[in-house]
Subunit: 338 residues, 2 copies
């Protein structure tokens, strides 16, 4: 618990110089920098983030707000953000809203306002005007990931294009009776992704001159069991069973594969299935999918923040590109039977 004063004494300089030498801000000769580093090392000196924050007004800490944690997408985004932040010497403090309304309110009204974070990353959350503006009033940069927030810079995939690509893959193989398992209306509140993906699916169908059949759409909850249920209904239909399914998430797609198996249908011989995500289990199930890269999204969010937070351009340039996605063809899709 050595303080800056002791380091200064040991290095034979002033505390101001120690501060400059250690933080990299301001001019210090190479020689003194070394002396200071040495002294600091000897004493196991680590700056007190509180004192530093209080004096400088910068905490070197960012808040990440998520609606769930126990979910592939969110966990991956956080992992990406965390490691990018660590590299920059930043901490990540986590706000998980799983608990419900009360938690959300106290996080936005209290926790995020107590000057503990320099910026906020909101993942998969549609923030209210009030939430956004209270953050902005404090001068805290806010950035969204996966779910656009009006008036806020957000990293977000082109969900229409993604779903279109998945559907086109199937169309290209010759399928026309293509079903879609997407999010129900309840998911459209915080994400708009369900309807966007449905739109992408429909556009692809229409552009290919294929009629969109309402009976071939099933809402589900993005989970594996949800996908299983929906697929059972779709594939159990006595008339005009679809020859392919595009599911809005890999978990639902995997559920669909299991449903098909349970019905005695072979994938992809009897039915082709494509998902969206590239979930960690997708390789195992041989699922064809459109990959998104949530870890990368977390990193990109941090990169964007750093540009706002760090005046010096010591952060690698990262253009404001749209989020990438990529069709990954595995063994769950093939030409339709006959």
């Amino acid at each position: 618990m050595a303080g800056i004063e002791e380091v200064a004494r040991r290095a034979g300089v002033s505390t101001a110089t120690v501060s400059r030498a250690l933080s990299g801000r301001g001019y210090v000769s190479e020689a003194t920098r070394l002396k200071v580093a040495q002294a600091a090392g000897d004493l196991d000196y680590v700056v007190s983030s509180n004192a530093s924050s209080l004096a400088s007004g910068r905490t070197r800490n960012v808040g990440v707000v998520v609606p769930f944690l126990n979910h592939w997408f969110f966990a991956s985004v956080i992992e990406g953000a965390e490691s990018a932040l660590l590299r920059q010497g930043y901490d990540l403090t986590l706000y998980n809203l799983t608990g419900g309304g009360d938690e959300r309110k106290s996080v936005f009204d209290h926790f995020l306002l107590r000057q503990r974070v320099d910026a906020v990353i909101a993942v998969g959350l549609e923030l209210t005007e009030a939430e956004v503006s209270s953050l902005h009033a404090m001068g805290k940069p806010l950035i969204g990931v996966g779910g656009a927030i009006s008036g806020v810079f957000s990293l977000t995939m082109d969900d229409v294009a993604v779903a279109r690509l998945a559907t086109e893959h199937l169309l290209g193989l010759g399928h026309t009776r293509i079903a879609h398992i997407g999010g129900g209306k309840e998911f459209d509140l915080d994400f708009h992704l369900p309807s966007n993906r449905r739109i992408g699916y429909e556009r692809a169908m229409q552009d290919a001159g294929v009629r969109v059949d309402e009976a071939l759409f099933r809402p589900a909850d993005f989970t594996l069991p949800g996908g299983y249920e929906a697929a059972k209904q779709l594939l159990g239909s006595p008339h005009n069973r679809p020859t392919a399914i595009v599911a809005s998430s890999d978990e639902m797609a995997i559920g669909s594969i299991l449903a098909a198996r349970d019905l005695g249908l072979h994938v992809p011989a009897d039915v082709s299935i494509v998902g969206i995500d590239d979930h960690q289990l997708s390789t195992f199930f041989g699922l064809t999918t459109v990959a998104q890269f949530p870890r990368r999204q977390g990193e990109q969010a941090v990169e964007a923040l750093m540009k706002l937070l760090e005046p010096t351009p010591d952060v690698p340039e990262s253009a404001d590109v749209p989020l990438p996605y990529e069709l990954i063809v595995r063994s769950s899709t093939a030409r339709p039977p006959q």
Copy 2:
């Protein structure tokens, strides 16, 4: 961004009184408390955690260190810890070591030492002596979850008993050719759970007078694909195929169910399978398992910390009980064939 001074002025008291009124520490008359609360509310005052921490030496923030994030167990522990902390007005800052050796070093040598946290929760991590002692030298309480750390208070399940229970369930149904899929040696470094579970399995067998057959053990990596591979080997054996499998994790157990299906074996008619965890997918797969309760573990870790951190007994009493576990029988286990 109103400061304490403005609140004091508006309430007609000194800043000292505001501090006392808002923090609950020290004597304040009910009347002034109300006045202050009113003034603070009017001004949307939120205390600056940095100034408060610097002055008081307490950050009201705890660090949580995990080896992975994208995993059911860790995510659940964090969720539990997070919500318990939120209730106490604490923040949670997350340190994810997924990146590798470098990250770990900088987290322990730098990040955790910069006085940003009052305490540390290490989840599923075996800390080195150096790591533990540098934390203790700073006076930071440290508590382990899921993986005992020598010399550190840890919440940890009785893995021997858990595996024994799973095995006894099978023995009780009449199985004797019971295979075990457990962690390989590489997992024994940070967790000792693999070998403990194996011991529990063996003890149960021995106590039942059943010989432990080396050929009936397969190491795997705790994942679904890993369990699938292992089960394929076990169940594909031409001689003396096991009639049951106890897997050290639900993911491996689910992999085993899928492996059995792919071999044309029926679960549980041809083979019974039991896991350990009660993973979110286990209900869907009808998996019999021994549940552990990771969310609760996160909460308990926080409760234990609060006792150390908060002198006042405003934290509900929670005895130092061993972690609970519970056999949940679903449809993946039954009497052996014939």
